[in-house]
Amino acid sequence: MDRIECQWCKAQNEPERTSCTTCGAPLDKKNLVSDSGWTEAPRLRDMTEFRFSNSICQIEGEIVPVAELALAPGDSVFFEHHVMLWKEPGVPLSALNVPGGARRMIGGMPHIMSVAHGPGRVALSKDATGEVVVLPIHPSHEIDVREHAFLAGTHSLNYSFVRIKGLANVLHGGSGMYMDRFVTGGEQGLLLLHGYGNVFQKTLQPGEQILVEPGGFLYKDSSVTMNTVRQSFKTGMLGSHNMYLAEMTGPGRVGVQSMYVHHGSE
């Protein structure tokens, strides 16, 4: 019998499945794609389960969703320490060795990252309305995420952060000084993000460009370049107004969220 390909993460699933085993996306619903090619991130059904390594993640709730992780022995996840909603007493915790502590502190990024090790259960919540975006990361793939949007990453992901280049980008880009970067080694990893409002993804062709509100930027493949461009508008004989947009150039995926803080106009 034919297997079902998930339209969101392209994983193959057993024919009887109603949600993807790899990312939880509903398999019995078509992807919603706008006329200009933005795909709406799949709204995960309440209590949807999906797997990573030997562990299970279940998404609970729809307004402020919770990711409950049943960690198998040998598996672990890392996350910002303040997103932990509850845990079983026997789940060991450790701190992730994150380089560049002083720079991270200056950049407003969390300098403590916790790691929960299996066996046992731990639940994570971003404590804000929105949706959980599940991104399975294929081996040797890199993805950049706006700071504070990251909810959890599995042990097979390498975590680092990259400085956003260019003073104008830092000052007017709305993404702070750094972006989180997640890289997989030989094994597929799973990244959970929290998107405020609804989340949309577009795949840019090589050289294709799109201008995005900087506050709306959520993630991108590292192959996508991001520059801040200024739009100047005259507002009268003497006045002018500058607005800053993030210019994304393909190839690769770009994710945006529909609820954000507007940055970069003066």
Binding site: L32, V33, S34, D35, S36, W38, E40, R43, T129, G130, E131, Y196, G197, N198, F200, Q209, I210, L211, V212, E213, G216, Q231, F233, K234, T235, H241, M243, L245, E247, V256, S258, M259, Y260, H262, S265
Partner: protein, 295 residues
């Protein structure tokens, strides 16, 4: 070949061929039964994910259900305007310009957006109100005008004129020696009127939206901040209700009073289920004009 039966949308009142699952003028679903309360409020059904609205030679597609996004596919001949901070993304081919607006100083004092931007096709751009709620499409027939409470406006076609007027609804409270002015609808209201042809106005409504037609002289009392928009023909003024109270400190004159907005027909009104109660501390010593009732 048979032609589909004519369909008149119960929400925007405009005819279409009724062949799709959504009204092409306002995006309201056509295949659901109208939900009207016994008191006459019609619940505005949310625009379905990816539903399309046609305007001039362009389309608007509403995507997302929680914090919806209005994605415009603009024809080279068409343009829209919006407050600059609601722009989520745009293709580089879309021409962005600043819209000339008068009365900037007054708008700044009233806390309203100072900058409006126009976008001209060809290309796609997307607008997000950046708050949970519903996108409301109000197609405006030529020469028709509606009054909209401030901060509800999302985007409009450029043939829809935009001006603002004093809301004219206020009251003054006195608490000890302090007097304070209150504007429960805001200091000003936006007025949108279509000229030279029909226009499209998109608003953002937090919570759920309900609409109703008021007959000539018919009145309804609402929480002032729940109003989203109304026809120009609908009059509004305050109504103060003082419940019976035994003690001075808990009495209606001090805090327990109700401050209502009276809407008087004829015309359509739309309210939202999210609102803020008006400030009631202190005695009301002056109003913009109000009826009063002591229980």
């Amino acid at each position: 070949m048979s032609t589909p039966a004519a369909y008149t949308c119960p929400y925007c009142r405009l005819p279409s061929d009724g062949s799709g699952t959504a009204c092409p003028n306002c995006g309201a679903p056509t295949d659901v039964r109208a939900r009207v309360t016994k008191s006459g409020w019609a619940e505005q059904p949310p625009i379905r994910d990816m539903a399309r609205i046609r305007f001039n030679r362009s389309t608007c597609q509403i995507s997302g259900t929680y914090v919806p996004v209005a994605e415009m596919k603009l024809d080279p001949e068409d343009s829209v305007y919006f407050s600059h901070h609601v722009l989520l993304h745009t293709e580089p081919t879309v021409r962005l310009e600043m819209m000339k607006m008068a009365g900037g100083w007054n708008r700044m004092l009233a806390g309203m957006p100072l900058l409006m931007m126009t976008a001209r096709g060809p290309g796609h751009l997307a607008i997000s109100a950046d708050h949970p709620g519903e996108t409301l499409a109000v197609p405006l027939p030529a020469n028709h005008a509606v009054d909209v409470v401030e901060h509800r406006f999302l985007v409009a076609t450029t043939n829809v004129g935009f001006q603002w007027e004093r809301a004219g609804v206020w009251y003054v409270t006195q608490n000890g020696d302090e007097q304070e002015y209150h504007y429960p609808l805001g200091y000003t209201m936006d007025r949108f009127s279509a000229s030279g042809g029909p226009g499209l106005l998109l608003l953002h409504g937090p919570g759920n939206t309900f609409i109703r037609d008021l007959q000539h002289g018919e009145r309804i009392l609402i929480q002032p901040s729940s109003l989203i928009w109304k026809d120009r023909s609908v009059r509004m003024f305050l109504h103060l209700e003082y419940p019976r109270g035994n003690y001075w400190f808990s009495s209606a004159r001090w805090q327990a009073k109700s401050i209502w907005l009276v809407l008087q027909g004829p015309g359509r009104v739309a309210v939202q289920s999210v609102f803020e109660r008006p400030e009631t501390v202190g005695s009301i010593i002056n109003t913009s004009g109000a009826t009063t009732h002591y229980w």
